[in-house]
Symmetry: C2
Subunit: 469 residues, 2 copies
């Protein structure tokens, strides 16, 4: 019998463990040895769940762990925890790994037949004075979440000082989710962001709706505001966040500045990276030019099917799909990841925020000419109790009328309505085609014209008027 | 100046008034005279809202009226209420109208240049003994709703008799919605239906989930049960509903048996009708073979884009679109109605019920070979509070893998999730393409694999296995 070939996976989270599991389903241990190298001490956890754990929606850390290292090991997947990959040698098909503890020496070379890079992303940490002070928290890993919850629950704070104050740096997904979590923990929350509006994944006019809602929730949201330093007290702990013209007192600071692909290992080995620093792969998720190296999840760029270029989009749902596809391909089955349309949903308290496709600025940067319309409709028939306002923005390409993007801000059910536009973008539908869609209608679910169709009707008109000019 | 041409609309509800309004937007009264003939005494009301009015969700009847006759008249649309069209003479381009009161004589011939048939549908009333007895209610018109509410509020009943009992005949959309309304009014409710399961717009296995939910709500649901007679008491009022082997006491009976196209006028004039009795039109909604007669809404058959044939589907959302398209065409603009995919949503209390595409039986009747899969997922990430079970059924064509249908039963947000499948059906996507869809993900909105994608994955596998057989 031939010796088993070896699959080495760098990173034991969504992509890495999904790839390992799927490959194992297809090939037994006699055929394929699977070794996963993970820097941390857990596997397969939902990092997107961390803000909800901090908020108290999720109370048990274990709920965020989809599968423990032991569970993976029971399925004949070798998992090396607290182990780092420090050097990749594609020509010799080997990767050098060592204990994550810095005293652990040079480590050892691990040979592979197939390598999966699932190194994820790292949160942005600007080089501000004081950024490393106690009381400044990230929210990327379970360790981060645990430390933050401990701090919030008062272990580190002097509760005699009155209402506690938190400053969140960054008003994107994580910043907005964390501001909800902190408000619900009873904090006075200030959110600081350099941009004109929170949620720069939305156009500014839609971001303004989020801004209003945050104000109404008592979250002080200062936009156009750059942080210059984090101030510490005599005890070395964070005391305030300084901006150009003010100081914002803070008992705790949360960093919610987004992430960048974690591709230092790949870069040093000369693997192809895109503008964002994410790995470039072909549709089967093989790293371009390397038939035995695969990559997926938050460390790669994905093809944006609407804009026709690759982008870095860190999302658990893509990461899981990637892993499943890589595992299928290594296991001898077949799969491709055709790309994304840029769908994302989020919420702050009961305000749901959704987007898909291109922002106006992205369309303009790509040289596309477009029309943009916004409508205000309702979540249910106007006469039905509980109907709430729903704002839908839609952009369509000039002349062709092809849908380019859709953003929705509203309450109950607003978020997942964007999926209709996501499917339409995938199918490259025009807004004229959207108007004819047969969407579910009944008074408790929608007005007789679904809000997405109302927006599409207005977009059709705008496309026609623009063509007539 | 040339004399204005005349548009005559038969039926002043969704389609008719939308057509009139749209045509008026495009052509002023000097160019186009618009006359609407309506049998009842109201216009533009939401008949889909009536069950919710009876339930008490909607308290003001006026809320169900989108636009009154006076509002239409202010926009130069002539509305003749309580007037019936009794004869159509296409060769002479004229329609005979008279007062709906039977004593009103032969009426008068009204000439038209363009005729719109928007006569809607009539509820099924089986020829049962006792069907016309006081206490037997339909729920089609505002008059029906008003009469039923008056009866439910006790005007007609002897409240000393203890808990009041209602029997609903028919367990389709209307029957299910009415059973909720009656339960919420404090009635003991029995629902009778000949079919194997409630909601025959679902496959039997999905209908069984609705059956279970109805049982849990305390609604006695007897399927496979044909009604043989309605029994009356000495006072002539309804007393019970008889089936082959039992009598079900009833203080009130509600008919929820579905509707048929109201096309007597068209049939007598020799206009083309489909198998269901609905008018057949071309894509611009002109009656086939008649360049000056248009038809839309509940009196026509629409093209089923999945099955490739016409069907009768009575739905307010289609009716409104049809009116808008007919009005655009008569007004000199352009519009077509490409067809439907068969989407419908409903609910009973907090259980949401959705379907799109073909049922298994419909696919089989069309000679299609298919695979069917069912999955149980959750509405949110499994660890997120408030996550509820979601059942998704999906059918796909053998060999091609083309999506044929999707049904969803669950609680919060279940209903509108079917829209994803509706768009995918319109785009003729395969289940393999569905798996790759970029749908909105965040823990409060969806598991990392959206339930629709989980079903699609299983369908992909089933298609492959069937092909290998």
């Amino acid at each position: 019998m031939a010796a088993a070939s070896r699959m080495v996976v760098i990173g034991g989270n969504a992509t890495g463990m999904a790839a390992a599991s799927q490959a194992r389903r297809l090939k037994g241990p006699g055929e394929l040895e699977i070794v996963v190298v993970e820097r941390g001490d857990v596997t397969s956890y939902s990092s997107c769940g961390i803000p909800y754990w901090v908020a108290g929606d999720v109370t048990d850390e274990a709920d965020l762990v989809v599968r423990t290292p032991e569970e993976h090991r029971e399925r004949d997947i070798e998992v090396r925890l607290c182990t780092e990959a420090v050097e990749l040698d594609p020509a010799a098909r080997r990767v050098r790994v060592r204990g994550a503890d810095e005293s652990s020496g040079p480590g050892e070379w691990l040979a592979y037949d197939q390598l999966v890079l699932a190194t994820g992303a790292r949160p942005l940490r600007p080089p501000l004075p004081g950024i490393d002070a106690p009381g400044v928290h990230g929210v990327q890993t379970l360790d981060d979440g645990r430390a933050l919850i401990r701090a919030l629950e008062g272990g580190e704070l002097d509760s005699a000082r009155g209402p506690r104050r938190a400053v969140v740096i960054g008003a994107g997904y994580i910043g907005v989710e964390m501001s909800e979590a902190l408000v619900r923990r009873g904090y006075e929350v200030t959110v600081l962001d350099q941009a004109e509006q929170p949620m720069t994944t939305l156009d500014p006019d839609m971001g303004a709706l989020v801004h209003e809602a945050m104000d109404a929730l008592g979250i002080r949201t200062l936009t156009g505001t750059a942080v210059t330093a984090i101030r510490t007290g005599a005890d070395g702990r964070v005391r305030a966040v300084a901006t150009e013209d003010a100081e914002h007192p803070a008992d705790i600071v949360v960093l919610g500045l987004g992430v960048r692909p974690e591709t230092g290992l790949a870069r040093a080995a000369g693997l192809p990276l895109g503008e964002s620093g994410g790995l470039l792969t072909d549709l089967s998720l093989r790293v371009r030019g390397h038939h035995d190296i695969w990559a997926g999840g938050d460390c790669v760029e994905v093809l944006d099917l609407v804009g026709g270029r690759t982008r870095h989009i860190a999302l658990g749902t893509h990461a899981n799909k990637h892993g499943q596809i890589i595992g299928a391909n290594i296991g001898g089955d077949y799969g491709t990841f055709p790309g994304v349309v840029g769908t994302a949903v989020s919420k702050i308290c009961d305000l749901e925020i959704a987007r898909t496709g291109l922002l106006e600025q992205q369309a303009a940067d790509l040289g596309l000419r477009y029309v943009a319309v916004t409508v205000r409709s309702t979540s249910r028939a106007g006469y039905f109790p509980g109907a709430t306002p729903l704002h839908v923005k839609m952009t369509a390409e000039h002349r062709t009328g092809r849908l380019l993007g859709c953003q929705i801000v509203g309450r109950e059910g607003a978020g997942k309505r964007v999926d209709v536009a996501a499917v339409a973008l995938t199918a490259r539908m025009t807004v004229e085609q959207l108007v004819a869609l047969d969407l579910g209608y009944a008074p408790p679910f929608s007005p007789v014209w679904d809000p997405v169709l109302v927006a599409a009707r207005k977009a059709v008109k705008a496309v026609r008027e623009a063509a007539a000019d």
